[in-house]
């Protein structure tokens, strides 16, 4: 009996399913267009989640507004512009490169450049010190020359 219960419990999770947020509209083509667009929009009340996959109230609203706008004939760009106008560029997962977002986009490259420059100087210094260590003093050089001369005799 106990084993049967455990087996049943183990089977239970297979009935659970996550999937995209609900509300399938009457128009599947438009719904797909809406979801594609909603993938690019950040859910502001969640952490790192797209409006397309979020079950939050706010995301539901945004999806409904997207549908309404699409029904009214708005282009994808117009819908995105409308969202940015209200919630700022941070609502986009892929914010445009412009004056305001430039530091964000440039930062990784600046850091890479700094790293390369630091590496360059470090390597140069290391080579110099290595050369210095191996360099012979004039006396040692004279001794080496003498030794070589003797050997060649």
């Amino acid at each position: 009996m106990k084993n049967l219960l455990i087996a049943l419990l183990l089977v239970l999770p297979t009935f659970a399913s996550a999937g995209e947020a609900r509300d399938l509209a009457d128009d599947p083509v438009m719904e797909r267009r809406m979801i594609n667009l909603a993938e690019k929009v950040r859910c502001l009340v969640c952490q790192s989640e797209a409006v397309a996959s979020s079950h939050s109230d706010w995301s539901n609203d945004v999806r409904q507004i997207m549908r309404d706008k699409m029904k009214a004939g708005a282009s994808d760009q117009e819908i995105m512009d409308m969202l940015v106008e209200r919630f700022g560029k941070s609502v986009l997962f892929d914010p445009p490169v412009d004056k305001e977002t430039m530091p964000l986009w440039a930062a990784p490259f600046v850091m890479l450049l700094l790293g390369v420059v630091a590496l360059f100087f470090q390597l140069r210094k290391r080579r110099e010190s290595a050369l210095k260590e191996s360099a012979l003093t004039p006396e040692a050089q004279a001794r080496a020359a003498n030794l070589l001369k003797e050997e060649n005799k």
Binding site: V45, W58, R86, G88
Partner: protein, 175 residues
């Protein structure tokens, strides 16, 4: 000696970044509406749906627009703060009852007091959406020209009222 300090300095800079990062709330998104005209709308009043309100009615006055709902927990926290503000008669506070049931909204005001000069009823949240509302409560400071000067996301507290909102209201009222 200097060379030894470099790792320490790097560590302190990183620690500084982390510290600032921890104190930032990723939910707080700077509003693009700051210093822009408050979006216009026409909404019925919560207490009398036959009457309509539009932000133009407040031209020439500095006012606060407080977005709230009966289902919102933090709104209960800020309610006494708003009640006290209202009793001082410094600045009119208008309420925007957001995505609420009319009876529920009215019940809250009946039970805990009504700090609002006027309460607007935004049943489907369309006006809230135009104002970029995504978390309730939110409070906007709107100047005499109808321009949004500040947006507070989250509850009004005695601290942010004293340090941020009221000084701004005083400054804007002088203009």
């Amino acid at each position: 000696m200097m060379r030894r300090l470099i790792p320490l300095v790097v560590f302190l800079v990183l620690a500084g970044f982390l510290y600032v990062g921890l104190s930032l709330d990723p939910r707080e998104v700077p509003s693009p509406l700051i210093n822009k005209s408050a979006p216009t709308f026409n909404l019925p009043l919560l207490h009398d749906t036959k009457k309509q309100f539009s932000p133009q009615d407040m031209k020439g006055q500095v006012w606060l627009l407080n977005v709230w709902a009966s289902w919102c927990g933090a709104c209960k926290d800020e309610h006494p703060v708003l009640m006290e503000l209202a009793s001082k008669n410094i600045v009119p506070v208008l309420g925007l009852n957001y995505k609420d049931k009319r009876e529920d909204g009215m019940a809250v005001l009946r039970k805990s007091g009504d700090p609002y000069a006027i309460t607007l009823f935004d049943a489907d949240g369309k006006v809230g959406f135009d104002y970029g509302v995504y978390g309730v409560p939110e409070t906007y400071v709107i100047d005499k020209e109808g321009i949004i000067r500040y947006k507070l996301i989250g509850a009004v507290t005695p601290q942010n009222l004293r340090d941020r909102i009221l000084p701004l209201v005083t400054e804007l009222s002088k203009k």
